[in-house]
């Protein structure tokens, strides 16, 4: 039994959340407690499967799973010359993303058990949440370009439905429509690119395509059609305009997972640049493309964040800004990928910083959005000018917010510092100017969060929030889970970097290794 489960983990990774989502309408009819138990069970099982799969990848190497074949590792059916079956190829980078998605989905689902309990239509809410989780897990686990598109659409549709979940607020539906429209146009561009690639090379498998790519003019068109929508989906400036709207109006638990979903797009971007096109690209051009996107996102994100009055909108702009760090770190790695000496000297450190920042960002930004949701849950407002003095009544929420805020600002000993330090020191060797920009953005981030902290939690007790109490248990546990990870990754970053990040960096650089995994070379 246990060997069977270990053997089929990639399939279970998708089947478990789907199972939880599909049975939700039936379970919901059985009453509130059954539904709550089912949601908890589904989330816990999904996270377990995800972590087990990641553990398997980190201990025994990339895991390959072919759907519908006689044997899960049989990639070429019969006497075919190219893989036509759908397959999951989970390497260390995918495993890192799976760990991120598993941890935050568990914490977020726990949190939402209390946070959303007052809303109606909860079966649909949880079905959509599980579908969103499925989409994200599928995007990062698949080894097939078309499959990637399908999971991208699943996550976009579920995400848009969840953004618009509070339909009594017109703005929520407006944001949902905007998100759905942009995602669909982006996904259609991705689909055209997939069509172009398939027409030339008769393959949809990423590894098969990578081994055949000739870099013709059409391939360049396809590259643009793949990169631009994915950059938009991860919220990079100048295509960030959907982020603040969607992040603000979505329920907080959903926002925290939308962050993970946009990071799955970031994964897609890296996978396409490093693995699919890889050595065919001009390193410097695309490295600088990512770096410029990153610097723009960092700077514009933080400057837009500072004047915001709505706490979630402010955090959304900070999310754009933090995405910039990831793009900067990985972009520097891409720019020196052809130069072995520079790559070993600082390129891999920069990539490690970028990827570690993805992990850290998902944790502390999730935590921050959850605390904002907790404040909204008790006070009913997100307006910073109206909030104040909550430190007296919601001390735990204040502590969690402090942990998140110090982490995002890159203050030691929290996890944001660990990844930002890697980025600073490696980017400084590449271009001192960029490192200075990154540090300035960090300082501005700190300033912005000090302001938020001051106006939300400090000050005298306010009469209108006298009824505000500490949040219910499940919300507390959800936030505490993320806070513990933030603290752990900040206090002892070494095991995280050695066991999670470095294998992922090596997997990202090793294009030939990825192709060999599929073709059994």
């Amino acid at each position: 039994m246990s060997t069977m489960i270990m053997r089929h983990l990639p399939a279970l990774l998708i089947a478990t959340p789907l199972f939880a989502a599909f049975l939700m309408p039936l379970v919901g009819a059985a009453g509130r407690w059954v539904r709550t138990a089912w949601v908890f069970l589904g989330a816990a099982l999904t996270a377990t499967v995800g972590l087990l799969l990641a553990w398997q990848v980190f201990t025994t190497g990339p895991v390959l799973y072919v759907f519908g074949a006689g044997d899960p590792t049989q990639t070429l059916p019969g006497d075919a010359a190219f893989p036509i079956r759908i397959m999951f190829a989970v390497d260390a980078l995918s495993a890192l993303m799976i760990v991120i998605a598993s941890c935050s989905s568990l914490a977020i689902t726990l949190y939402s058990l209390n946070a959303e309990a007052r809303q109606s239509g909860l079966e649909t809410f949880y079905a959509m949440l599980f579908l969103l989780v499925t989409g994200v897990l599928g995007m990062v686990a698949t080894g097939d370009l078309f499959n990637f598109f399908v999971f991208l659409e699943i996550s976009s549709l579920a995400g848009a439905a969840l953004v618009a979940y509070r339909i009594d607020e017109g703005v929520a539906v407006e944001a949902g429509l905007k998100y759905a429209l942009l995602s669909t146009v982006g996904a259609l561009a991705v689909l055209i690119a997939i069509g172009i690639l398939f027409a030339q090379y008769n393959a949809l498998n990423i590894a098969a395509l990578a081994s055949r790519l000739q870099f013709t003019v059409l391939d360049k068109v396809a590259l643009v059609l793949l990169v631009v929508p994915l950059a938009m989906k991860c919220g990079a400036v100048p295509m960030h305009f959907w982020t603040p709207d969607s992040y603000t109006t979505a329920p907080s638990s959903v926002t925290a997972f939308l962050v993970v979903s946009s990071q799955a797009s970031l994964y897609g971007l890296f996978r396409i640049l490093y693995t699919l096109y890889g050595s065919l690209l001009s390193w410097a051009t695309f490295g600088w493309f990512l770096i410029i996107l990153g610097v723009l996102s960092m700077f514009i994100g933080v400057t837009m964040a500072i004047p915001q009055k709505d706490v979630k909108r402010l955090m959304a702009y900070h999310a754009v800004s933090q995405t910039g760090y990831m793009l900067l770190g990985v972009g520097v790695g891409l720019a020196v990928l052809g130069n072995r000496a520079a790559l070993e000297e600082f390129g891999k450190t920069a990539m490690a910083g970028g990827l570690f920042h993805i992990f850290n960002h998902a944790m502390y930004k999730g935590l921050l959005f959850l605390t904002a949701g907790a404040v909204f849950y008790r006070t009913g407002t997100r307006n910073l000018n109206k909030l104040g003095g909550l430190g007296h009544t919601m001390p735990w929420t204040m502590v969690f917010f402090m942990i998140g805020a110090l982490a995002i600002a890159g203050v030691p000993p929290f996890n944001g510092f660990a990844s930002k330090l890697l980025i600073y020191e490696s980017v400084f060797r590449f271009s001192p100017f960029l490192a200075v920009v990154a540090m300035v953005v960090s300082i501005l981030t700190l300033a912005s969060f000090v302001k938020v902290f001051h106006s939300m939690f400090l000050g005298a007790r306010r009469a209108e929030y006298a009824a505000a109490r500490e949040v219910p248990a499940a919300m507390w546990v959800g936030m505490a889970l993320l806070a513990v990870v933030v603290m752990a990754a900040g206090l002892v970053p070494r095991p995280f970097i050695d066991h999670l990040i470095t294998p992922a960096v090596n997997a990202l650089c090793d294009r030939a290794g990825y192709i060999a995994t599929i073709f059994g070379g």
Binding site: F146, V171, V173, G176, L177, L181, T184, A199, L204
Partner: protein, 118 residues
């Protein structure tokens, strides 16, 4: 020359449909018309996928009373079907959003539905 042109006809149609679809999405102000533009764009992509799957003298891989076994690999057809299914879900969801917005704001004019700013 003529056959070449005929074989390329679907691709010209795809370009035309993409232009019409994007044009409707950018220029029109009515939400329903914007969504219609999106649908046209989706059709363009579907047509593109089917068109690249065309092989001369190949038959569809349907074994029922098939005249020859010289068949095409139906991958693009499968992709198109998937894309159509996704398109149905997207259209349904976005049209219901438009309906809700009409109920809330009393208009489907995209210029009036701009509460989100900053």
């Amino acid at each position: 020359m003529m056959t070449r042109l005929l074989l390329d006809l679907p691709f010209f149609t795809v370009v035309l449909l993409v232009v019409i679809g994007l044009g409707a999405m950018v220029l029109k102000r009515n939400l329903i018309k914007i969504l219609m533009g999106l649908s046209i764009l989706e059709s363009a992509v579907n047509l593109f996928l089917v068109a690249i799957g065309y092989r001369q003298d190949g038959v569809a891989p349907i074994f029922t009373n098939v005249p020859s076994l010289h068949m095409v690999l139906p991958t693009v057809q499968a992709l198109t079907l998937t894309s159509i299914v996704i398109g149905v879900a997207t259209s349904a969801m976005m049209l219901s959003f438009a309906m809700i917005l009409y109920k809330k704001y009393g208009t489907v004019d995209a210029r009036d539905i701009r509460k989100l700013k900053g």
